[in-house]
C-alpha cells in the first residue's frame, strides 16, 4: 500500500462510519525499545486509529514536562534513530495503522532530508509532523516527502492569522493539525473556548482532514472536540501511564490500553 494512502483511507473510513479518528501520541522507545513496542500494540488493541510516534530529541522545546521526560527516558535507554525506524518495521509486522512521526527538524536535517524521507517510507511511516519547521522553511522536506510519498503535516495555532491558514493548508498533505491553545504539550483540565469558530475558519481554506490536539486528557474533552474535528489527538494523558507503572510492564500495558479504550469511547458518544 502506498504510505500516505493509509491516512486517506483511515479518514474516509471514519467519515463513512460518521465518527472522528483517534490519534494517539507516545514517544518512541519510551521507556525502552521492547516495552515501547508493547505499548504501541496495546494502544492499537485499545482501538486508536492513528499512531503519532514522537522521535526522542535532546531539546524538545515545544514539549511540556510529560513529553520531555518521555524523550529523556528513551534517550537514556539508548534509543537511536535506527531504533525508531526498527520500531515502525516491527509494528508493520502486525498492523496497518497509519503512523506519523512527531519530530524536530535537526533529527531529519542531520540525516540528509531526502535520505531521511526515503528511510521513513521504507520503514512504513506514513507522514511527518516537524514541530519546529514552519512551511516557509520546509521546501526541501516538502519535496522529499512528495518524492517518497509521505504526508507532510503542518500545524495551525491560535496565533496563526487567517491569511496564513490558506498558505499553510496549501503546503500540507495528509491532514492538518490544529493546536487548540498556545503553549507546550501537556494534559490540561480546560479546553480553549473558541474551538468551533477556529475550526470553521480553517475549514474555509482546506478540504484536508483536521485534527485537534494539545491538552486533551478526559473523555468529556474527547466528546467535545470530536463534535467539530475529524480527529482528536491525545498525548500526555496516555504517556503518563508509562512513568506511573515503571515497576510492572503488565500493569503499564493494561493501564495504557484501558486509558486508550475509555478515551476512544468518547468518539462514538459525540
Amino acid at each position: 500500500m502506498m504510505n500516505s494512502d493509509r491516512i486517506a483511507k483511515l479518514f474516509s473510513d471514519c467519515k463513512a462510519e460518521g465518527r472522528s479518528a483517534f490519534v494517539a501520541y507516545v514517544c518512541a522507545c519510551d521507556p525502552d525499545f521492547d516495552r515501547s513496542l508493547e505499548v504501541c500494540r496495546s494502544l492499537i488493541k485499545g482501538g486508536v486509529d492513528i499512531l503519532e510516534l514522537g522521535v526522542p530529541f535532546s531539546d524538545p522545546l515545544a514539549d511540556g514536562l510529560t513529553n520531555q521526560l518521555a524523550a529523556q527516558r528513551a534517550l537514556e535507554a539508548g534509543c537511536t534513530q535506527e531504533d525508531v525506524f526498527r520500531l515502525v518495521r516491527e509494528i508493520r509486522t502486525f498492523s496497518e495503522i497509519p503512523i506519523v512521526f512527531y519530530t524536530y527538524y535537526n533529527l531529519i536535517f542531520s540525516q540528509g532530508v531526502e535520505n531521511y524521507a526515503r528511510k521513513s517510507k521504507e520503514a512504513g511511516v506514513d507522514g511527518l509532523l516537524t514541530l519546529d519547521l514552519p512551511p516557509e522553511e520546509a521546501d526541501e522536506l516538502i519535496n522529499a516527502c512528495k518524492e517518497s510519498e509521505l504526508a507532510n503535516i503542518f500545524i495551525i495555532a491560535p496565533t496563526t492569522p487567517k491569511e496564513r491558514i490558506a498558505k499553510i493548508a496549501k503546503r500540507a498533505s495528509g491532514f492538518l493539525y490544529y493546536v487548540s491553545r498556545e503553549g507546550v504539550t501537556g494534559a490540561r483540565d480546560d479546553l480553549a473556548g473558541d474551538l468551533d469558530e477556529r475550526v470553521a475558519a480553517i475549514r474555509e481554506h482546506t478540504d484536508l482532514p483536521l485534527v485537534v490536539g494539545f491538552g486533551i486528557s478526559s473523555v468529556q474533552q474527547v466528546v467535545e472536540v470530536a463534535k467539530v474535528a475529524d480527529g482528536v489527538v491525545v498525548g500526555s494523558a496516555l504517556v503518563n501511564c508509562i512513568p506511573q507503572n515503571l515497576e510492572s510492564t503488565p500493569k503499564m500495558l493494561a493501564a495504557i490500553e484501558q486509558k486508550a479504550r475509555s478515551l476512544v469511547g468518547g468518539l462514538t458518544a459525540a
Binding site: 535532546s58 522545546l61 515545544a62 533529527l107 531529519i108 536535517f109 519546529d132 496564513r164 493546536v179 498556545e182
Partner: protein
Amino acid sequence: MTVETNEPAPRSVMPDRFSLPDEKGRFGPYGGSYVPETLYHPLKELNDAYLEARADPSFQHELDRLLKEFAGRPTELYFAERLTKELGGAKIYLKREDLLHTGAHKINNALGQALLAKRMGKKRIIAETGAGQHGIATASVCAKFGLDCKIYMGAEDMRRQALNVFRMRLSGAEVHGVEAGSKTLKEAINEAMRDWVTNVRTTHYILGSALGAHPYPGMVRDFHRIISKETKRQFLETEGRLPDEMIACVGGGSNAIGFFFDFLEETNVRLIGVEAGGRSLKEGEHAARFEGGKLGVLQGCKTWILQNPDGQINQTHSVSAGLDYAAIGPEHAFYRDLNRIEFAHAGDEDALNAFRALSSTEGILPALETAHGLAHAFKRAKEMRKDELLCVNLSGRGDKDAMEAARLMGVSGLPQMPTL
C-alpha cells in the same frame, strides 16, 4: 562554500553588511526561522515592530539617552601599557564594556529590547541567562521600567554564578532554575521558549545573544553595533588609524558581532572570534562549534552545532557559563565562510591564566568569558610587531566569577552566597 585559504575575501566580494539578514532572516545559508507555528506570526510582528522602531528617530534618541545615562556609554578605549610591555609585542587596547552598568555588554541589548517591548505594549519580560550577565541586565532594565521579569537559568549556572542570582532577585526578578540536561544555557533557552509559546500575547522574550530565530540575530547585533562604532572613532582619535587585529570571545556571538560590525568592510583589520576550548576538544568537553560541530538547526536557526551523528545535541563544557553553548550565531558562520571572521579557541586553563594575568598587570578583573578572548590575544600579541595594534573587546567584568575562580584555584574557606 567554505573557503580553504586564509586570505580574507577581497573587499569587492564582501557583501554589504547592512543587506543581511535578508527578509527571510538568512545570512547566506544560515539563520532563518525554525520555530513552532505558535511563534511564527508573533516573530513576524516583532520584526515589523523592530523595523519600525529602528527607523524612528525618537526611538533611537531615547535609546541613546538611556545608553548614556543608565548604562554609562561611551565606554573607554584603554591602552594596556604594562600588559603590552610584559608581552613585548603588539600594542594592546581594551574596549571597556566591563565598565557598563551591570558589568557587561549585555545591557546594550537589554535596554534596546526593553524599549521595544514597551513600545509593543508588552508588560511581561522573560529571558534566559548563562553567566547571569544577561539576566542581571534584563532584571535591572525591567526594574527601571516597572516590567514583570522572569529569568530562566540552568541549575549548574545558578551554582557557579550565585552572586548574579542574588543580584537578579534583588532587582525583583523571579529566577527559575532549570534542571534538564546539562543544566546550562541551552536548557534555559528551551524553557524560556516554552514560556514564550504559552504567554506570547502578553510577553516579550529578550533573547540575550545574536542567536535564535529571525529577527533576533540581526536585532541583537544592531543593539551591540554601538561597540564597533565607538571603537572605530576612538582608534582614529587616539592612534590616527584602525587597529590591525581585533579579538572577542564568542558564546552565541553578541559581543563579538557588535565589536566587529563596523570593521567588516575594513578588510585590512583582522577579526578573530574565540570559542571555549573547555577541558579538551573531545566530544562533550568543550563548546568550540567550529571544532567538531556541523550544520544543523537548533532553537530557531540554522547554524554550526555540536551534535552527534543522530542529530542529538551534544552536552558542552566550559569554565565560563556564558560560552557554554552548543550553537553559534548564524552571522558568524556566514562571515567565517568568507574568511572574514576567523575563529580560534582557548581552553579552561588558558582562560583562568588570562583572568589572573590581566588582574595582576592592569588591575582589571575580566569575566571568565572575556578571559578566553584575552588568552588568545596574549598569544597573538607576542607574534605581532611592536608597531601593530591589537584590540580586545573586554566584554565583561569578573566580579561574578571571583568565587568560582577561587574554588577552581583551590582557595579554601570561601564564604557561602546568601540565598534570597
